[in-house]
Amino acid sequence: MTAKAHSNDVTMQAKAETHQYLTFLLAGEEYGVDILSVQEIRGCSSVTPIPTTPEYVLGVINLRGTVVPIVDLRKRFGLAAAQFGATTVFVVVRAIGLDRHRTMGMVVDAVLDVYNISPDEVKPAPDVGNALDHDFVTGLATVDDKMLILLDIDWVMNSSINEPLQTH
């Protein structure tokens, strides 16, 4: 899959630093991650489940000889499990988990565009009580009249690695 780069329509001074974000669709919502943390986008392959891991850790895959865990963000956010369709892919990211770099894949419904967003355009997420864990959101942005939820990938990484659970 190729990602197209769009220039941002919202007027901004050219000198402001813009970050590029890869956006994707997850359960009807648009999320974005810093493109620098995205290593590759991979078609779905069979995942080997791992015992005693939380539900949102689907298992591991073989990424050119390395064993990489796959996380279902829908489950992570407490939504219904992902239905693997024609556009479902793994977005493989590299981020810091427990003090070092790790590689992890996330199941997304579809990959969308790459946007340039400057820090000024990022608004903090409103505090809506405890309905949903808001630590994973670094902020919100508006692109083409749509709300984009910017994901804190380090948080996703860190929280997916736990102390081993007990066997039942």
Binding site: T48, P49, I50, P51, G65, V67, P164, Q166, T167
Partner: protein, 680 residues
């Protein structure tokens, strides 16, 4: 100028030198007269001194200089080799090692300790030694001309002018000539050395301070420098002899041959050449045709071999299903490929293997010191030092071994009086041996001491609530109790043992390496601890099994047998734990499907794989036994985390990931669960 690369090499060589010094000193007996042995120690000290001076590390050369002086006296026969001297020198080596550690880590050196040690060395130096013996030299003695008391000491200051090198004069050659006249010590003066970017290789920036001792006249020195007269600043001064040093003995003036090659190398070479010289010396010292390779290069190679194994098994899979006429050729080709791959893999593995002697060589010192401390007489016998094992395993087995040896000395071997009363020789025997067996390396720590005291152990176990008074316990189980955390029958703590944190950590460390440890002991006669470790860490022989839709790998070395389940032999306890009657024993059953996926299935439709770890057996219930193959171990922790019951992952021929089961972990988990379930 960035010296850090050279510094790294220098530190490595320092440690090597310290090792040479230590083992040399340990082998030196009191009253020894073997000049060559002492010389080896001296040379090592000298190199360390010279090298550190080159790098401007001032404390080390200062300290080493005194050490050197003492060694020098010994090798010249001006001082006898006494046990006290050896002990002091050994301590100084420790001190020196600490200094190197500190310098390397950039931490502050313990100035007090260094000063104290230095003072002791200087004290020893200044006391004249009365009991001298003439020493034997391996080389032929040169006839000394005339008068033996004509020893003179000269200090030479030599600074070549900048262009001296361009006339083809090499200071190294000059110094070599000087060395043939007598005993030469060289120190380079680096004060005029500019930064690396400004250095011109044909310009000389260095000056040297030389001390030459021997029967020679000023004219002889000046003669050597004749060629460079006018191109250098030269000062030759006669130095007063040290007061209090006893007159030279017969053997001491024969210095020409033995010395010529030694002192010059490290201290006199200008920095750009330092590395070349060091390597020269290192290879001259140990001419075993070996080479230093960085560990990363080896790991790259091993990874590539791992990938090759995967590719080859993938091709094998295709080969099996082919129906075409050329299949025979394909099959032959694949057999050939398998053979090549296996050989390549073994060769790659062997690169990482080092002889275990490297780990064993710290023990003579340890045993000696500990024996002294505890007041026990122990003789250490080591065999199988050439048995090779993987470098990582070697590094990690060091600490557990130290602990076992300490235990043997502290608890095992008795005090000399006790031994005598028991009719044993006063000196206890501690044996360390290593050998290959099957695909493993076996290390034994054997002592002829008191053995495990069954009574004491049982009592302690009851005290700690591990056993009740009525339990019947088999011999093996008693002995295995010492591996429990916090278990110790020592009456009092010492800094050596007694805290009870040792044996379980030892066993855990060994298990982590994929091995096991067992103890066999006979009360009054002694104990033997046997450690078994796999030879390689990255590749293992595995049995593939199917549980539900997933494939798992069971390490072949842990499989005892596999059988078809006979439902009549299955008996539950308290409705929760299932046991299987395997001939005369009952073993627990772990239903993998349930443990891993949460489904249960009928036992009798699958197989039972009996696995063993630490003398405990368990039956794993699987759906189907698949093939056996070599698998490359991939780490789960690199990108994920450690999972209980799983020791790693591998990639099968079809590209899918299969999990490798951690047998000791599974068995332990089963036991833990049983205990909690029974208690509940």
């Amino acid at each position: 100028m960035d010296l850090s690369e050279f510094l790294a090499v220098f530190f490595e060589e320092c440690y090597e030198g310290l090792g040479v010094m230590e083992s040399g000193l340990l082998q030196l007996d009191a009253g020894c007269t073997d000049a060559e042995a002492i010389n080896t120690i001296f040379r090592a000290a000298h190199s360390i001194k010279g090298g550190s001076a080159t790098f401007g590390l001032n404390e080390i050369p200062q300290f080493t200089h005194v050490l050197e002086a003492l060694l020098d006296q010994m090798r010249d026969g001006r001082r006898a080799v006494t046990r006290d001297a050896i002990d002091l020198l050994l301590e100084s080596v420790d001190c020196l090692r600490e200094m190197v550690d500190g310098t390397k880590a950039g931490t502050e050196l313990n100035a007090e300790r260094i000063a104290a040690a230095q003072r002791r060395l200087e004290n020893m130096l200044s006391t004249a030694d009365s009991a001298l013996e003439p020493i034997t030299h391996p080389t032929i003695k040169e006839e000394s001309p005339g008068d033996k008391s004509n020893l003179s000491c000269w200090q030479i200051f030599f600074r070549p002018h900048a262009h001296m090198l361009q006339s083809g004069n090499d200071p190294y050659r000059l110094f070599r000539e000087l060395a043939t006249l007598g005993h030469l010590q060289v120190e380079a003066d680096l004060s005029s050395l500019p930064s690396c970017s400004e250095i011109e290789p044909e310009t000389c920036y260095l000056a040297w301070n030389l001390w030459l001792e021997g029967e020679l006249a000023r004219e002889q020195i000046l003669e050597i420098f004749q060629w460079v007269e006018g191109d250098c600043d030269l000062e030759v001064k006669k130095v007063e002899e040290h007061a209090g040093e006893p007159e030279a003995e017969v053997g001491s003036e024969v210095q020409g041959e033995g010395q010529a090659q030694t002192p010059i190398e490290t201290s006199s070479s200008p920095i750009p050449n330092a590395r070349g010289h060091k390597n020269e010396r290192a290879s001259a010292g140990q001419d075993t045709g070996s080479i230093r390779v960085s560990i990363e290069k080896i790991d790259v190679l091993i990874n590539l071999v791992g990938e090759l194994v995967i590719t080859q098994s993938m091709l094998n899979r295709f080969g099996e299903d082919f129906e075409q006429p050329q299949v025979n050729e394909l099959r032959d080709g694949l057999i050939q490929l398998t053979r090549n791959t296996r050989e390549l893999q073994e060769a790659a593995m062997h690169i990482r293997m080092l002889p275990i002697g490297a780990s064993f060589n710290r023990f003579p010192r340890l045993v000696r010191d500990l024996g002294n401390k505890l007041g026990k007489k122990v003789e250490l016998s080591v065999s199988g030092e050439n048995t090779e094992l993987d470098k990582t395993v070697l590094e990690k087995i060091g600490d557990p071994l130290v602990h076992l040896v300490r235990n043997a000395l502290d608890h095992g071997i008795e005090a000399p009086e006790v031994r005598k009363a028991a009719g044993k020789p006063e000196t206890g025997l501690l044996q360390l041996c290593a050998y290959h067996q099957g695909g493993n390396i076996v290390i034994e720590v054997r002592d002829d001491g008191a053995g495990l005291n069954r009574e004491k152990i049982l009592r302690k176990a009851q005290e700690q609530g591990l056993l009740s008074a009525n339990d019947t316990v088999g011999e093996e189980q008693v002995q295995n109790l010492i591996f429990q955390p916090g278990f110790s029958t020592a009456e009092k703590l010492s800094d050596i043992s007694g805290r009870g944190v040792g044996m379980d950590v030892v066993r855990k460390n060994i298990n982590d390496l994929g091995g096991h440890v067992q103890i066999r002991s006979e009360e009054g006669k002694g104990s033997t601890l046997t450690i078994r470790l796999p030879l390689t860490l990255a590749i293992l022989e595995g049995q593939l099994v199917r549980v539900g839709t997933e494939t798992y790998v069971v390490p072949l070395t842990s499989i005892v047998e596999s059988l078809q389940v006979e439902p009549t032999r299955v008996s539950p306890i308290a409705q929760r734990i299932e046991l299987y009657k395997l001939r005369d024993e009952y073993i627990s059953i772990i239903r993998l499907a349930q443990a891993f996926h949460g489904h249960s299935h009928a036992l009798d439709r699958g197989q039972l794989v009996v696995v063993e770890a630490d003398n405990r057996r368990v039956g794993l219930s699987v759906d189907e036994m698949l093939g056996q193959q070599q698998v490359v171990i991939k780490s789960l922790e690199t990108n994920f985390q450690q999972i209980k019951g799983v020791s790693g992952a591998t990639i099968l021929g079809d590209g899918r990931v299969a999990l490798i089961l951690d047998i000791p972990g599974l068995i332990q988990g089963c036991i833990d669960r049983s205990l909690t379930q029974i208690a509940a």
